[in-house]
């Protein structure tokens, strides 16, 4: 995997460092700006949703209005004008909407092809990955549905799931992230438009990687997707999401909610490569990425593994968490967060140990360059019943340049003596010696930084599914473009 040399090629062939900044010119239907009960009804009407969901959304909206935006994270951003946003945007369907992949608007297929996500099944590498493509507020295509259904796996857009399996949606929606959990999750609960739904039946090992590709395209639009994954007893699934957005001068809001439910002996591996538009070198534009991701290990010996590579967004506020309820359940969090230029990231995890012999592992690698601020914030809480709980956390920061900041704020709360919590954190920089060695052996400064940083992140990157690991390695290099003189 000599990703570094390729990385530099990629960088050089681009005019700017952000490769996915193009805008797709497609006729778009948007909700009127602003957020009222009518907005919620507008979304509902577009999706033909049942009344129980309307009530659920309206309740969330009412709650949201009583809440305040959280201010505890180490991020600074201008006030968001919640009434100045469109809460729904969708490519205008030609006719009655696509019945199959062949009918999807060629402009959209083209857009995804440009992002490296072919939506025509025959073009996808030997059926290793099934893709749900979410464009602004709607899912435009889901591949390999038929093949998955043979195994009983449901992989579809959230909107479709509401109609197909309403009882499952009703049972689990908001059961891990309640409406009032936090300001952004509550907002999402009121206005979420689409997202992915995954159901893996008992004993099934999902035959391929599932992947959702999120794309924000329209201007002045917030994206509020909702993902729900349910892994029944003894099942297994690996799910990956990717995110990009056009290069625009104004900030855009992305407030997603992801809920995972894992029953006895089941496992969900959830990987994210987040590369939303980060804004320019001065901090103009870029996505505000305020995301609530949480999984409940409800079953015995269940497991959730979060892996995230966060390189994009102007501001990131994100703490993928595990509630370890089932005895012997396992939570993992592997994270690489890279901030460059004026980016700010406050990200980490929460591991809540409730069941006996629950185990959690946290490996966080934060890399700060330019004028950026990069914070790891994590909570490990061991509750009184969690006999034999174990946590190991390793948080390393790397600083590139002397104008950035790297911060580590772990919260450790233990109420169980028969448990072990270990936390280690280090901060260092790329040494002049390392840089010189690489250059003496023939690498350019950019290649050298990419190589060294990839080494620093290795423990995390190797947790990504193979197909995406190489991509992520390249992204590491691209994200740090311009960080060394």
């Amino acid at each position: 995997m000599t990703s570094t040399t390729e990385t530099v090629d990629t960088v050089k062939e681009l005019t700017g460092a952000y490769k996915y900044g193009f805008v797709t010119d497609i006729e778009t239907e948007v909700a009127p700006k602003g957020l009222t009960e009518d907005t919620v009804r507008y979304i509902l009407a577009r999706k033909d949703e049942p009344t129980w969901l309307l009530d659920w959304r309206l309740k969330a909206l009412a709650l949201w209005r009583t809440m305040e935006e959280p201010r505890w994270a180490k991020v600074v951003y201008p006030a968001i004008d919640y009434q100045g946003l469109h809460y729904y945007a969708a490519p205008k369907a030609k006719g009655d909407g696509p019945k199959s992949l062949d009918e999807v608007d060629p402009e959209l297929l083209e857009a995804y092809a440009k992002l490296g996500i072919p939506l025509k099944e025959q073009e996808i590498l030997a059926g290793v990955v099934a893709v749900d493509a979410v464009f602004d507020s709607v899912s435009v295509a889901t591949t390999y549905k038929a093949r998955l259904e043979e195994k009983g796996v449901i992989f579809c857009s959230f909107s479709e799931a509401v109609h197909r399996v309403p009882e499952l949606v009703k049972k689990y929606l908001g059961s891990v992230v309640p409406q009032g959990d936090n300001y952004f999750a509550c907002l999402n609960s009121a206005v979420f438009s689409d997202g992915s739904f995954v159901y893996i039946p008992k004993g099934v090992r999902c035959p391929m990687e599932l992947s959702t590709y999120f794309r924000i395209n329209a201007r002045n639009t917030g994206q509020f997707e909702r993902t729900l994954i349910i892994a029944e007893e003894g099942s297994h699934v690996s799910y990956l999401e990717g995110c990009t957005a056009p290069q625009r001068d104004e900030h855009q809001l992305h407030a997603a909610v992801v809920e995972l439910i894992v029953l006895d002996d089941a496992e969900i591996k959830y990987s994210t490569v987040q590369n939303w538009y980060p804004g320019d070198a001065e901090g103009k534009g870029g996505i505000f990425n305020f995301v609530t991701k949480r999984g409940a290990c409800r079953g015995k010996r269940s497991k959730i593994s979060w892996t995230q590579v966060e390189t994009g967004s102007a501001v990131t506020w994100k703490y993928p968490s595990c509630i370890l309820q089932g005895d012997d359940s396992v939570g993992e969090f592997y994270s690489v967060a890279i901030t460059n230029n004026a980016q700010q990231a406050d990200t980490g995890t929460k591991m809540i140990h409730i069941g006996k012999n629950t185990r959690s592992t946290i490996v966080s690698k934060g890399i700060a360059a330019g004028h950026s601020d990069n914070t790891y914030r994590g909570l490990v809480r061991v509750l009184p019943g969690a006999v034999g709980a174990r946590n190991y956390s390793q948080c390393d920061s790397l600083l590139i340049g002397d104008k950035c900041g790297a911060h580590t704020v772990p919260y450790i709360e233990s109420r169980m003596p028969i448990s072990t919590i270990e936390h280690e954190a280090t901060t260092a920089r790329i040494s002049d010696d390392q840089l010189f060695l690489c250059r003496q052996r023939g690498l350019s400064p950019e290649e050298a930084v990419a190589l060294i940083v990839n080494g620093f992140c290795k423990e995390v990157l190797q947790n990504l599914p193979m197909e995406f690991a190489v991509e992520a390695q390249k992204l590491v290099g691209i994200s740090l473009e311009g960080s060394v003189g």
Binding site: T66, M67, E68, W72, G180, V382, P384, S397, L399, I400, G401, D402, K403, C404, G405, A406, H407, T408, V409, P410, Y411, I412, E413, S414, R415, M416, P417, I418, S419, T420, I421, E422, H423, E424, A425, T426, T427, A428, R429
Partner: protein, 440 residues
């Protein structure tokens, strides 16, 4: 989602009380107090939204009607300090008041000891300046409250180049009273360039009375000065204890600190080091023991403002019964403060299923040539070690006692002053043996 108003008790009749405080006519002192009082009024007692006080509520201060303490009468045995053997000079503060007759006479050339009240009455510029330096009350309502009631205390000054041989011990004692009272002991220490001092602060009071202490110690260390600073918090079991030590360090300073907390119902000791000069180095260690339903908070804030400064911190806590231990350690490396080393370790040992440890280390780093680390572990006694000892024929109780002492011993070994090490060790031993006495 309730947004309750801050609760700011202890300011009843403040205007009347403030008018009677020393130095009221001095505009600078009056302003200092007024600013502090209004800051406290706005912030109120610490609550969950104040990040610096995330884990500690001062419940008694919220509910029990404390009154500001007048100086009570003490018995000689009550002014005993930490029990340090050898030459000791003692400064006694009773309910926050400097009591000269109980204190030693400091007849060492280059060392002066004065009452804060006298200094304030006289409008001593140097003292006012030292009290009024850029103290930031954000997230520090208790320090603001203490300054609002700025009254008496001790002012200790060591001139440049003077090495003080005897241990200087400050005993802040609270006396028994029929009503719950709060005292505000205040200590101002200035150590001149190249001077050296060993300072032991002891806090104590009646074993079972409800009382409160809100203490502030301000220390200023001149270039290449050296300070060994030991704190023993041995308050009574029903006491609310809050203390903060703020230390400004010039270039080349050597600071060694150790804080041992064993008392109080709710106790918090905070050390804040500002490393303002190149080459300063600090070792800040400590230990605590919590039992019954007590809460013990140890908080450190290190600001590496100047380059080439180093800090090393090791804290250990033993938690029993329903006890709750808190450790917060913030290390802040400022922009351009290069070549910094900052290491920190906290270990909590839980002896009971009902005990709790909350730990929040925090690294804020804005310079890139920095080696910083922190580590935190919380858990029970190592079952492998326990088994090993038992397999060699040691009974379980003895084995546990042995391991507990080994756990704390590591911390005490860092105390550089031999007599203080012995004295603190003995304190901890008494604390441990009470546990064993009860549970045998």
């Amino acid at each position: 989602m309730t947004h309750s108003q801050p609760v700011a008790p202890l300011l009843e009749n403040y205007t009347a009380v403030a008018a009677a405080l020393p130095g009221t006519l001095n505009p600078r002192i009056a302003t200092m107090r007024a600013v502090a009082a209004s800051t406290y009024r706005v912030q109120g007692l610490p609550h969950a939204k104040v990040e610096a006080w995330k884990y500690t509520r001062l419940k008694d201060l919220e509910t029990v009607g404390f009154r500001r303490a007048d100086a009570g009468a003490v018995l000689p045995r009550e002014i005993a300090g930490a029990g340090v053997e050898g030459p000791v000079l003692r400064i006694v503060l009773v309910d926050g008041r400097f009591i000269a007759p109980l204190s030693n006479v400091f007849d060492i050339p280059g060392v002066s000891l004065r009452s804060l009240r006298v200094c304030l009455d006289a409008g001593d510029d140097a003292v006012i300046q030292a009290l009024d330096r850029d103290v930031d009350f954000s997230g520090a309502p208790m320090a603001a409250l203490a300054t609002a009631y700025l009254d008496d205390g001790a002012v200790l000054r060591v001139d440049a180049g003077v090495a003080v041989a005897p241990v200087v011990e400050v005993v802040a004692v609270s006396t028994a009273a029929t009503q719950p009272r709060i005292a505000f002991p205040r200590l101002l220490v200035t150590v001149g360039a190249g001077a050296a001092l060993t300072l032991v602060e002891t806090f104590r009071g009646p074993a079972d009375d409800v009382y409160a202490v809100n203490a502030v110690t301000d220390i200023s260390l001149g270039e290449n000065a050296s300070l060994s600073h030991y704190v023993l918090q041995a308050q009574g079991a029903a006491a609310t204890h809050v203390s903060v030590g703020r230390c400004d360090m010039a270039a080349g300073v050597h600071y060694e600190g150790f804080a041992l907390q064993l008392g109080g119902k709710t106790a918090r000791h905070e050390m804040r080091l500002r490393m303002l000069g190149v080459g300063g180095c600090a070792r800040l260690n400590g230990a605590y023991g919590v039992r019954d339903a007590a809460v013990c908070d140890t908080t450190t804030v290190i600001e590496h403002i100047a380059p080439e400064t180093t800090t090393d911190q090791v804290f250990k806590g033993i938690l029993d019964d329903h006890g709750r231990g808190i450790f917060q350690g913030k290390v802040h490396v400022f922009r351009d403060a290069q070549r910094i080393v900052g290491n920190q370790l906290h270990k909590g040992l839980l002896l009971s299923r009902n005990a709790e440890v909350d730990c929040k280390p925090e690294l804020l780093i804005y310079a890139n040539d920095v080696k910083c680390s922190h580590g935190a572990t919380v858990g029970e006694m190592d079952p492998d070690q326990l088994f090993f000892l038992r397999s060699r024929g040691i009974d379980e109780a003895t084995a546990r006692a042995l391991l507990m002492r080994a756990f704390l011993g590591e911390a005490f070994d860092t105390i550089q002053h031999p007599a203080v090490r012995v004295a603190f060790h003995a304190r901890a031993e008494t604390w441990l043996s009470r546990r064993e006495g009860e549970k045998a």
